[in-house]
């Protein structure tokens, strides 16, 4: 035992605790398994220990010890690879796949959460050494709140208006409002779709969003989340019963066609609203200077 032992223990414990707090199994159903959780808690513990060790190392003028953090960075890049590979493998056997963009988003967040853990244990250890256990606990609570804020991105309900529209057939063409979804030839299939299907229109709130929700990965994420939460009326070998999202080219609205097992309009709206906006789908054309120049010059 030396003067830093308790500080390091504090940092490591708090860091691991932050990781556990961020590891929720929610409607995204991942990670569902005990083993998956154990992997991430252990990695979180390693991250927390690394973060906690950095401060005493600096104080003892063991500067080379800090280079250990680079090992940590490599390690957590591997976490991202591991998640990506696992999810890609599993995705092939989903009835409605997650899509690569969603998987990438999940993998990125797993990596970044470990860095949040390192930061937490780094800060709590530092505060412990400077101010003692009480301040350390206060800094831990602040870190926890910051981590919660940092890890929650925006969701679809912030950027689009969601409206229910019944499905209709025009000849063999399936429509949601005026958006063409697909051609269904057989009468019995059409009846099934009218009976089990639901249609929603997502209207973007501004120009940035038109491009964001047009992203195919973002659309697949919507379909996946709905089918996970409400079930899906399909099986392998029934490609006609595939939930689809098509786009109105005129104004960028999306027509969502889903086949849920639980046909509850309000629930479905809620779930569509809670779909995360994927980081790699976000586009901000309104921030481009060139674009704004042209828009403004049109006005004058």
């Amino acid at each position: 035992m030396n003067e830093y032992t308790t500080a390091i223990v504090f940092g490591a414990v708090f860091g691991t605790f932050v990781r556990i707090m961020m590891l929720r199994t929610d409607y995204r159903q991942y990670p569902t398994y005990l083993h998956g959780k154990i992997i991430h808690i252990s990695l979180g513990f390693i991250a927390a220990s690394l973060g906690a060790l950095a401060i005493p190392a600096i104080l003892e003028e063991q500067y080379t010890a800090v280079t250990l953090l680079t090992v940590a960075a490599t390690q957590f890049r591997d976490v991202r690879n591991m998640e990506r590979n696992t999810l890609n493998e599993v995705d092939q056997y989903e009835l409605v796949s997650r899509g690569k963009t969603y998987i990438e988003g999940i993998a990125i967040s797993f990596e970044s959460r470990n860095y949040l853990v390192i930061a937490t244990s780094f800060i709590t250890t530092l505060v412990y050494i400077i101010g003692g256990p009480v301040y350390s606990i206060v800094s831990f609570v602040i870190c926890l709140i910051l981590a919660k804020i940092l890890m929650s991105g925006s969701t679809l309900k912030d950027i689009v208006d969601i409206e229910y529209h019944p499905l209709r057939f025009d000849g063999a063409g399936l429509y949601v409002d005026n958006i063409y979804i697909m051609n269904i030839g057989l009468k019995e299939r059409q009846e099934e779709i009218l009976k089990y299907g639901m249609g929603f229109i997502l209207t973007p709130k501004d120009m940035n969003i038109v491009t964001t929700i047009a992203n195919l990965g973002q659309r697949q994420a919507i379909l996946h989340d709905i089918s996970v939460a409400l079930g899906v009326f399909r099986d392998s070998g029934t490609p006609a019963l595939t939930p689809l999202i098509k786009r109105d080219l005129d104004d960028g609205r999306l027509g969502v066609f889903i086949l849920p097992q639980v046909r509850d309009v309000d629930k479905a709206k809620e779930i569509i609203g809670a779909v995360p906006v994927l980081e790699s789908a976000i586009r901000m054309p309104l921030k481009s200077k060139k674009h704004n120049k042209e828009v403004n010059s049109d006005e004058y």
Partner: protein, 61 residues
């Protein structure tokens, strides 16, 4: 080049509408047409699309 979609079968009641590479099924009436299209859809894991009242195709997506 990868061809992703393919017409697996053509089902029609009007023989003179069709010709060409895919297997063609000629039916006597609308009922037969629907029945054969439904069967072929199930067998081939494709989707039956209607191009008109008398002409269906099965497409693999």
């Amino acid at each position: 080049m990868n061809i992703e979609k393919a017409i697996l079968a053509i089902i029609t009641t009007k023989k003179e509408l069709v010709a060409g590479g895919a297997p063609i099924f000629i039916c006597n009436n609308k009922n037969d047409l629907e029945r054969i299209a439904a069967n072929l859809e199930a067998i081939t894991d494709g989707i039956a699309h209607a191009l008109g009242e008398e002409l269906y195709i099965i497409v693999k997506h």
